[in-house]
């Protein structure tokens, strides 16, 4: 979706503010909500892609106003209810419904190493054939999906060159919406900065994006 999260190339956001000796978490609640988000995803009721999309669905004014981890609070509350792990009433009252059965968490100290090493599936799958090859000129398709996508607006319609085939990955545009993994090749595509941003940028500079087969076409 053409959301506010798709920030590449936007102007007027100001200078980058770097903090010296920044802690990993600024406040204890940030660490807790980070861990809660990861532990709750272990129920496998939703994927990382679905979680990314949940942030994109936030009201844009909230998205810009809230800190990074505040968005994670709002997201986890919404995901837990939307995917049936917590009822809306339980979330509102903060108490489990009377007589509800206690679950057993999938993510515990005993299982954590298995969960954390599971990671992202292998990118090697000879059965999935690439539609493009290294060295080929390609155009990023001019598409505007209303759901989740990892094709940023600033690259759409632009021409680049494939410099690397990364192998096979789950397609987020379908996976985020529970419409299947649709595994396909992902490539590193090099776009000249001038192709993206015009004549005022350096002729030497480039931007590389990782792109699935479904984002590309022959120019």
């Amino acid at each position: 979706m053409n959301g506010v999260h798709d920030m590449g190339g936007q102007q007027g956001m100001g200078a980058v503010q770097s903090e010296k000796d920044e802690p990993v978490f600024h406040e204890a609640w940030e660490g807790r909500i980070y861990a809660l988000n990861r532990a709750m995803r272990a129920w496998r009721k939703w994927s990382l892609d679905t979680d990314r999309h949940a942030l994109e669905l936030m009201n844009p004014i909230d998205y810009l106003r809230m800190s990074y981890y505040e968005r994670w609070v709002v997201r986890l509350q919404a995901q837990a209810v939307a995917h049936g792990l917590v009822t809306k009433e339980e979330m509102d009252t903060g108490k489990p419904a009377a007589g509800s059965e206690k679950a057993t968490p999938p993510f515990t100290l005993a299982t954590s190493s298995r969960w954390l090493s599971r990671g992202i599936a292998s990118s090697h799958d000879p059965a999935v054939r690439p539609l493009f090859r290294v060295g080929q000129r390609v155009r990023a398709r001019n598409i505007h999906p209303t759901g989740h996508t990892r094709l940023p607006r600033y690259a759409r319609g632009k021409i680049g060159v494939i410099i690397r085939d990364h192998g096979v990955y789950i397609f987020p545009d379908t996976n985020a919406h529970f419409q299947g993994e649709k595994r396909q090749h992902v490539y590193s595509v090099r776009f000249a900065a001038r192709e993206l941003w015009g004549e005022r940028t350096s002729p030497r500079d480039s931007v590389h994006l990782d792109m699935w087969d479904d984002y590309l076409e022959r120019p």
């Binding site: 917590v86 903060g94 940023p152 994006l209 990782d210």
Partner: protein, 237 residues
């Protein structure tokens, strides 16, 4: 922005949020903050998260020791010191550097760094003629096993918006001046590939040990917003 305008925006945001995303609306904090020009943190977040955690524990959905371990990992086990050791090893061991550039995850795992968000990695090398910069314009993708969780600026709107359209300007804000004849390559982490910059080894470090070299390597240099410099003892990462 003055308080009146902020409150207006906040009320508008809450109303619009309630209309557009009913599932999210109940979670909005009550506005009680004034006078901030940046993103604000409502004071009730500590309570909200505590209440959420208690509910999830009581329902048996999460396990507190496992949560503690996740936080401990991020605060004490992963972080830029890991990446610095990878960089220093690559500087002193050409065979390791080749393995790192050819197949980063395996080379990084050789040093024992194997946690999540580093399964598929690419290390990009800076040279006198090429400089690399890492960003995630769409969210906050970052190579956790070697750098830990990203700093706030990496996840911020200014960095995400400008790193692709004005990378040289962003570098200048970090005190990094790139010569005109240097090629700047930006890597936008749009898929499950995670990137790490292999910075240039600074001149004058020929006699340093691998450990001394690792102490020079900063997080900013491995993201590509800075170069590695000889530093005074006590400088922070």
């Amino acid at each position: 922005m003055d308080g009146t305008r902020r409150c207006f925006l906040k009320a508008a945001a809450t109303a619009a949020g309630a209309a557009a995303t009913p599932g999210l609306a109940h979670a909005q904090g009550q506005g009680q903050d004034h006078g901030h020009d940046h993103q604000e943190v409502p004071s009730d977040l500590t309570l909200r998260v505590k209440s959420l955690e208690s509910l999830l524990v009581e329902k048996g959905l999460v396990d507190r020791p496992a949560l503690d371990a996740l936080i401990d990992t991020m605060e004490h086990k992963v972080g830029p010191r890991n990446g610095a050791r990878v960089v220093a090893r690559a500087w002193v061991d050409p065979a390791y550097k080749k393995r790192l550039l050819d197949h980063a995850p395996a080379a990084i795992a050789e040093l024992g760094y194997t946690s999540g968000q580093g399964e598929h990695m690419l290390v990009v090398e800076n040279t006198p003629k090429v400089h690399n910069l890492i960003v995630c314009t769409l969210c906050s993708c970052y190579p956790w096993p070697v750098l830990g969780l990203p700093p706030v600026w990496y996840k911020s709107a200014p960095y995400r918006s400008r790193a692709v359209i004005d990378p040289r300007g962003v570098l200048r804000e970090f005190g990094t001046q790139l010569a005109e004849d240097v090629e700047l390559r930006v890597w936008d982490s749009t898929a499950e590939l995670r990137y790490l910059v292999l910075p240039e080894r600074p001149a004058g470090t020929e006699r340093m040990s691998e450990e001394e070299l690792a102490a020079l390597v900063t997080r900013d240099a491995m993201v590509g917003v800075a170069k590695v410099a000889l530093r005074q003892p006590g400088d922070s990462l």
